[in-house]
Amino acid sequence: MRIASPLLVVLIASVTLIAQGPATQPADDAVPPVTQPAGAEAMQATIIKIVGNVVCALPGPDGKPGEFKPAKVGDKLPAGAMIQTRLRSSVMLAFGDDAVVLVDRVTLASIDQFHRTADTKKVQLGLGHGLIRGATVETTLRSDMTISSPVATLSKRGTIDFGMRYEPGTGRYTVFLNQEGLVEALDHLANLRRNVQPGQYVTQALARWIETLTMDRYVSVTDAWGTTSAEQSWSAHFGGSGTGVVDPGGGSTLYTASFNASDGFTPSSLTTVPPIPPTLPPAGEGTLRVVRPEGNFGTGFGAAH
């Protein structure tokens, strides 16, 4: 206890200090100047579509981004340029004739590298926060495109509609591929990588696709044998939507309506399905045969039996 007490004091004091201090360090404004490798031909991206308010900062002579100015269609953005989009805003950029990038709403992005060497075109984008989507087609020139955020990097291999969303506030990210090709996600913190096939995505959890899929799809676990016909019909029609019968086997009321031109819909019959009894029905001369005294588990009472 005598050893533990000072340790407790130190621990509590530490927790107190942490709780009162800033949660994050202020971001450093210094942006390193962009450098292109020797022998590479520098290229420029072109703005082809804009929705809402988008501002861009072009790099100055020292390679650092200058002042942000409103962007317009046709503007050319070299490596080192930064892009900011507001709410309800997005911008589409063409990187040559075989790659298109969409910078989505509330996103801070940068063009870190865009150049061509003998047989390769390299595009490297930075993602401060928000969402970037891209699409490329394969031409004679090999296209090398990556999107980098502080915690993960997306590397594509001839794809259409891939992208990355990064949330610095929580450290969450999603790398996805919607249509075709192959995308590779590299997590800097875990030092792991995942291949993303069309229709798949990977998050910071780095779960395999089969594990992610089970979290996204609603799986009905209603016991078909313990439900009534009406409940089974309900599950068949609406079960996939996430809705379900609250009390399977608890009884239900069925309404049927007939239609004629003069009266419209009128309920013509009403059927009440009683709850499934907690014990099996009487057998033979009316004696109640209780098979499982601890209760009814529904087996054999539904329409499926």
Binding site: M1, V9, A23, V100, L102, H129, V137, E167
Partner: protein
């Protein structure tokens, strides 16, 4: 005797660490009202370990209106109160750090999310309104499910606002031309697919 002294120190530490939860940041609130809309979202908020009520109100009016229409805390507060996005009863002050629950409640109202049983039964009465608002936003994957009484960082607020805006576009809460990246590729005359 020595143990009693340790216990006293521990008690003081616990009180200092948990008893004082009110944070006031007048300079930050002032700065958040002065910067332009782009710098506000992408630079100013990204640096803040916690968000003041003034900054949250500005971000919420931007989310609701799509642009930065109002230029003062009073006008933003009036707008949010008029539309029922925030409540008088919370007694939020301009320079105070805002909790996640208050932001979540406003976002739920702006997004016109109907909510579940708990949110409607208890939330609308004012009992647990902010608590269940966080859960509603976690359900639609706009916010992470963490305690509603915790402060919110500026970067997290921007993430929430961005996700909420995407939700509004998806649900058709405002008219907008939808840019599809694959169309940008195939529509280009020099594209070779």
């Amino acid at each position: 005797m020595l143990q009693r002294a340790y216990l006293l120190i521990i008690a003081i530490g616990v009180v200092a660490g948990t008893g004082c939860s009110q944070v006031s940041r007048p300079e930050q609130a002032q700065q958040g009202e002065q910067v332009n809309a782009d710098a506000f979202l992408h630079e100013h908020l990204q640096r803040q370990p916690m968000v003041t009520v003034s900054e949250a109100y500005r971000a919420l009016t931007m989310l609701a209106e799509g642009e930065d229409k109002y230029d003062s805390f009073a006008s933003r507060e009036e707008y949010l109160l008029q539309h029922g996005f925030i409540r008088h009863e919370w007694k939020l002050q301009r320079d105070m750090a805002i909790d996640r629950g208050s932001v979540a409640y406003a976002v739920v109202q702006i997004l016109k999310i109907r909510g579940g049983v708990n949110f409607n039964a208890l939330g609308r009465l004012g009992i647990g309104d902010r608590r269940y608002a966080v859960r509603e936003l976690a359900y639609v994957r706009i916010m992470q499910e963490t305690p509603p009484y915790r402060f919110m960082s500026g970067a997290e607020l921007v993430d929430v606002i961005g996700n909420a805006d995407a939700y509004m576009a998806k649900e058709g809460l405002y008219p907008q031309e939808l840019l599809k990246v694959e169309e940008g590729l195939t529509n280009r005359p020099d594209a070779t697919k």
